[in-house]
């Protein structure tokens, strides 16, 4: 097995990820877990678990990113998600363009330049609308498991428009739609449209430079991918491991690969 050149730690608000890369920037190992309340203790435990699997020299740089980055004592440096996501996605897809990252509790749009560095960005980190949490809450109301959301939303052609962008109001809108006997999958389709509308308008304020790339946990949702493509008129490209891009970029920045 190749030597670990650097470790990236993404202490996100919903999930915590660790990625180890070799000198060429290839991923050697990774771990992903739901974030625990004491993220610094969690990272220590995850690093031990990684060490049990692969040999890691003590001097290996560890770069932390994510909302909990400043709590990670083992990190040699910390950088924001913007820089790390841009780097990870640029390396994985090899393209400049517009990256939309939809995480559990925030979403961001990053314009990536020809050298892989962020040129401009916008973050929504104050409101659950436009984030994975919006789908999670509202799907819970409909009793649909999160992994099935996208498929179910695409399985119907009818759509119930959800006018509230606010998560709390959207939930009460769903309750009235259910009470009126609306088709749950059509409601789901409307919910996806509402989320996509919000992130695409954020992307438009930054300026959409094709291609459009999508990362974060929500990138796995096929309805979100399809609807972003419809709304922007651009193909949407997704990296192989969309949830790991922050940690991957952090590791790359640590190894300078």
């Amino acid at each position: 097995m190749s030597h670990v050149a650097a470790i990236g730690i993404d202490a996100g608000s919903t999930t915590c990820k660790l990625v180890a890369v070799d000198r060429d920037g290839a991923i050697i190992a990774w771990l992903l877990e739901p974030t625990e309340p004491r993220v610094e203790i969690q990272v220590r435990r995850m690093l031990d678990a990684l060490r049990a699997e692969i040999r890691i020299e003590t001097a290996v740089p560890a770069i932390a990113t994510g909302y909990g980055r400043k709590l990670i004592k083992q990190a040699t440096r910390n950088l924001t998600e913007i820089t790390c996501h841009a780097r990870g996605v640029f390396r994985d897809l090899g393209r400049a363009g517009t990256l939309i990252d939809i995480g559990g509790q925030d979403s961001k749009v990053i314009q990536i330049g020809e050298d892989g560095r962020p040129v401009d960005f916008m973050m929504n980190d104050k409101c659950a609308a436009g984030t994975g949490r919006f789908l999670e809450y509202t799907a819970a109301r409909l009793g649909v498991p999160i992994e099935a959301l996208g498929k179910r939303a695409l399985s119907v052609s009818s759509e119930e428009p959800i006018s509230s962008t606010c998560t709390v109001f959207a939930e009460s809108e769903i309750i009235s739609l259910i009470a009126r006997g609306a088709e749950p999958d059509a409601i789901l389709r409307g919910l996806h449209r509402s989320l996509v509308g919000r992130v695409v308008s954020m992307a438009r304020s930054v300026g959409i430079v094709p291609p459009v790339m999508l990362s974060g946990g929500v990138a796995r949702n096929e309805a979100v991918r399809t609807m972003i493509a419809e709304a922007t008129g651009e193909d949407v490209i997704v990296p192989r491991q969309p949830q790991l891009m922050g940690a991957y970029g952090a590791a790359l920045l640590g190894s300078a690969a």
Binding site: Y67, E81, M123
Partner: protein, 364 residues
Amino acid sequence: MSTVAGHAPSFPSRREVIEHVRALGREVVAVMPIHYPRAMLRAHRLHPIEIWGPPRVPRVEGSRHFQAYTCDIVVKATSFVRSGGIAGTKAILVPHTCDALQGMASVLGDFLHPEQRVLTLYLPRGRRTSDRDFLREELQRLGAKLSEVSGHQPSRADWMEAFEAEDAADAALADLYRRRERLAVSDRHFYQVIRAREYLTAEQFCEAATAVPEGNRPRTGVGLMISGIVAEPLELFDQIEALGAHIVGDDLACGFRRVYSTSMRNDPFERSASRLLKGPPDPTCGTPVRDRIEALQTRMRALGARGLLVYDPKFCEPELFDVPLLRKHLHEAGFPVLHVEFEMGETLPHQTLSRIEAFVETLS
């Protein structure tokens, strides 16, 4: 009063200033942002103490009287007035800076009736001769009200003394900006001095400004220009320095936008009017956005700024109108722009710092 490099500057407190001006025979007037005729107040034996949305005051009381999308400056100042924060002052002057402040003047004057007299000042939205004439008349109207408040009709000598003192303080402010690169103090310290103009007397401010030491203070990292209404809390500047950046210049309403050029006209109202209209570009004065963009570009080039941080209280309408065009044109000119909206409080939210940190990273 002392100002030592590396230490916080020390000024008289607001309470001490109030006692001092009263001993000089002047009464205190609370003043809302941004532009108003200081010398005119002084000539009328009045002293302005400005209110820029007191951070420790909750929105609750003020928010009963405004739409939810009204900025903190207006809502918190109204709470402050309602909770007796300006007790002991003779009047509150509310310049027509924006619709929110105009609304505040109506709410106070027509509905809440504080014990202080509510004075308004309609500012023109342009800098033409007709605007100056309008403002001159408006200042005459205000002057009559100020005489009623203080019971004093200024003599020629009063006007001259007031202009001399306030011109000297304005010159000291302009000089601080001119000497900025050579000053041996942190950004926080610099803005503490700049903002002391909001309540010190002209003489006290001159003393504070000249006490700012010069010396070798090598500045490393990314140079930023900061724009917006007011940069609060002051901790923001420490955090920016900790992120490896520093402020090379500002376009803040509470700062550089009040570096007026002096006017030498004979008529005191005309002099006050033309002075107020001779400040740097400001959207609340109706400056076309292209003039603001041009002025910003020129200053950013000259000062070596790599990007522009626009830092505004949430829901600041005049600023929000300009931001998309500022972003677009400055970006095209090679100056990235970050727009951050904040709620006035004592601490900086993690998200705000994260955005600024990411911005500094993109510029590094």
